[in-house]
């Protein structure tokens, strides 16, 4: 973690829990469903306040998502909470068939995504979730970058009437969202303007992209920084504008390079306005042992790593 991260960083799970609790007080259709994860999903407060509306199915993620779909079909608004790797991986088919294909208004809440459980190893790393969730039709994929977006995501997903996947950060991140920024599908958040190159970042990498922009500004390079709270549906117009108005695009995400943000942006770029790109993420390997900050740096997912990628792009196209 860099110095600036540490000074003002927040664990978004607390914002998630607080907003869910406030929402549940306003709307009695809200229920929480979890898998032996009352503590790790920060649902202790919810259990105290609404004991009957917290359903703990035990260590059984396929059942978890199926039960969520049933609750939704019967008129509830379930927030289905579990560690992101097991929620998305183990219950992938339930997410596809019971939730998305059935248009069940379930909010899937993936806790501690990316490499938040660094030392616990690849079974516990959720780096494939973005690729998997993006591949499912009819599922909104929401990737908050800070506590402001986490709270907005809870509100938005509850009101949307649609199935969604919300990726709740655990790795501490500072607030990056400016006052009045949009939070809706197909709306990117402009965090810094510039015309040399564009960095598009989501989740925990967003603040690092801003740090990279500050470092590059000292060298006279002007970076545009875009954040995409919605990975799906994606803001294609902002991507095309960036491709037209800057010399190339670097994407950054705490996820595998196979199929997440980078792949989504690249598909838009090549079909609508080809420009050089660099895709930063976890390469197609299982991570070595280490804590989150160590692993992010290990894979070049630091401000310095983003700076190098931008320079490489500007130098070699």
């Amino acid at each position: 973690m860099t110095v600036t991260d540490q000074q003002t960083a927040f664990d978004c799970r607390q914002d998630f829990a607080a907003e869910l609790l406030a929402l549940a007080a306003e709307d009695e259709r809200i229920v929480a469903v979890c898998n032996d994860s009352v503590g790790s999903s920060n649902l202790v407060g919810f259990r105290e306040r609404f004991p009957d509306r917290l359903i703990n199915v035990g260590i059984a993620e396929q059942d978890l998502v199926g039960v969520g779909a049933g609750l939704a079909n019967a008129g509830k608004i379930p927030f289905v909470c579990a560690a992101a790797p097991f929620l998305t991986g183990r219950a992938l088919e339930q997410i596809k068939a019971d939730v998305a294909y059935s248009e069940a208004h379930v909010v899937l809440c993936g806790q501690s995504p990316g490499m938040a459980y660094g030392e616990l190893g690849p079974t516990h790393h959720s780096i494939e979730d973005l690729s998997w969730m993006r591949a499912v039709a009819g599922l909104d994929v929401i990737v908050p970058a800070d506590s402001v977006q986490t709270r907005a995501a809870v509100r938005w997903a509850a009101a949307s009437g649609r199935p969604s996947y919300v990726r709740i950060p655990r790795f501490k991140v500072p607030v990056v969202t400016p006052e009045g920024a949009p939070f809706e599908p197909r709306r990117a958040v402009l965090l810094a303007d510039g015309d040399d190159a564009t960095v598009i970042a989501i989740g925990s990498l967003t603040s690092r992209a801003l740090q990279a922009a500050a470092l590059l500004r000292e060298e006279g390079v002007h970076l545009r920084v875009l954040n995409m709270p919605f990975l799906d549906p994606l803001d294609e117009e902002a991507i095309v504008a960036a491709a037209r108005e800057t010399r190339g695009i670097v994407t950054a995400e705490e996820a595998t390079v196979s199929g997440g943000l980078g792949a989504a942006v690249a598909a838009t770029v090549v079909t609508r306005h080809p420009v050089p790109m660099r895709i930063l993420g976890v390469p197609r390997v299982f991570a070595p042992t280490g804590d989150t900050a160590f692993l992010l740096d290990h894979f070049g997912l630091s401000a310095d790593g983003i700076v190098s990628a931008v320079k490489d792009l500007l130098r070699h196209g």
Partner: protein, 295 residues
């Protein structure tokens, strides 16, 4: 990443100890296993203290099962970890890697000094077992509900080859809430996998609460029996009872050993307390735990 290398001195000691235990009278064998388990428990506490991470409750719960398995039951050779005639051992509750690593190091599968690197950057000793890095690990675990299906596959391979090696898998009781276990339980019985033994670490706690308050397992013995398994129930901290349950001859069916255990066993202030699932002891608590385990 290649496998860690064996420790030949330690593995020679292990071979002698295992032979002694298997030949000894019941009383002597039990005393020796008790001593070994205490050493393993002490090293678990030290590993978790150094890493400031880990699952101490489940580690201490499963230690007696692991030690009995490796010293009293399994036919394995730490210097030839992939020897084709070995018995297969799977720790399905992979979050208890510290207990498995410290047992394996004790047997000489790799140098004990390696335990100091538990969960440190670039260590082979990840928070959950990895078969590519650590000798003695048959399959990667950590996502619960994977061990029994994989062990069933191992036992099927032995049956296809007419081989006489056996397969053992250790499961958490909370873990049994995963449906994949029951799919495998059905298949193992269907195929008459008498060389397969599942040991259930029945400590009645899971991550956040008691199993019976979360998603009750109810009459666990009847569940296994109705799936076609032979069921044996033992005190999971009684080495002799475990030895007999795991080595007794089978009746053509897979065997489920329900081992009644105490989460946090051996450290009084951790015993049967849910918060010790993955709480890290303070320096004072580490000292107190090691003192209790010295007796």
């Amino acid at each position: 990443m290649s496998l860690l290398a064996a420790d030949p001195t330690r593995s020679a000691v292990y071979r002698q100890a295992a032979e002694r235990i298997r030949r000894a009278d019941r009383h002597t064998a039990a005393a020796e296993l008790d001593q070994l388990a205490t050493e393993v428990r002490r090293s678990i506490i030290r590993m978790i203290d150094r890493a400031q991470l880990g699952h101490v409750g489940g580690d201490l719960s499963v230690t007696d099962i692991l030690v009995t398995c490796f010293y009293g039951v399994l036919s394995v050779d730490p210097e030839r970890p992939r020897w084709s005639g070995r018995d297969r051992f799977v720790l399905s509750k992979g979050h208890c890697a510290a207990a498995l690593y410290s047992t394996l190091a004790h047997c000489g599968f790799f140098p004990e000094a390696e335990l100091d690197t538990f969960m440190a950057p670039l260590s082979a000793l990840n928070g959950h077992p990895n078969r590519i890095k650590v000798p003695g690990i048959e399959t990667n675990t950590g996502a619960l509900g994977h061990g029994l299906p994989v062990a069933t596959g191992c036992a099927l391979a032995a049956q296809l080859d007419g081989a006489d090696w056996r397969t053992f898998v250790v499961l958490g009781d909370g873990e049994l809430q995963e449906g994949s276990n029951w799919e495998a339980a059905m298949a193992a019985a269907h195929h008459g996998l008498s060389s397969l033994t599942a040991v259930i670490d029945r400590n009645r706690l899971q991550q956040g609460a008691r199993t019976e308050d979360t998603n009750a397992l109810g009459a666990l013995d009847d569940k296994w029996r109705s799936f076609g398994w032979e069921v044996r129930e033992v005190d999971g901290h009684d080495h002799l009872a475990l030895l007999e349950a795991m080595s007794g001859s089978s009746t053509g069916r897979p065997v489920a050993v329900i081992a009644h255990t105490i989460k946090g066993k051996g450290v009084s202030f951790m015993e049967d307390r849910v918060e010790w699932h993955h709480k890290v002891p303070s320096p004072d608590q580490v000292e107190a735990a090691l003192a209790e385990l010295a007796r």
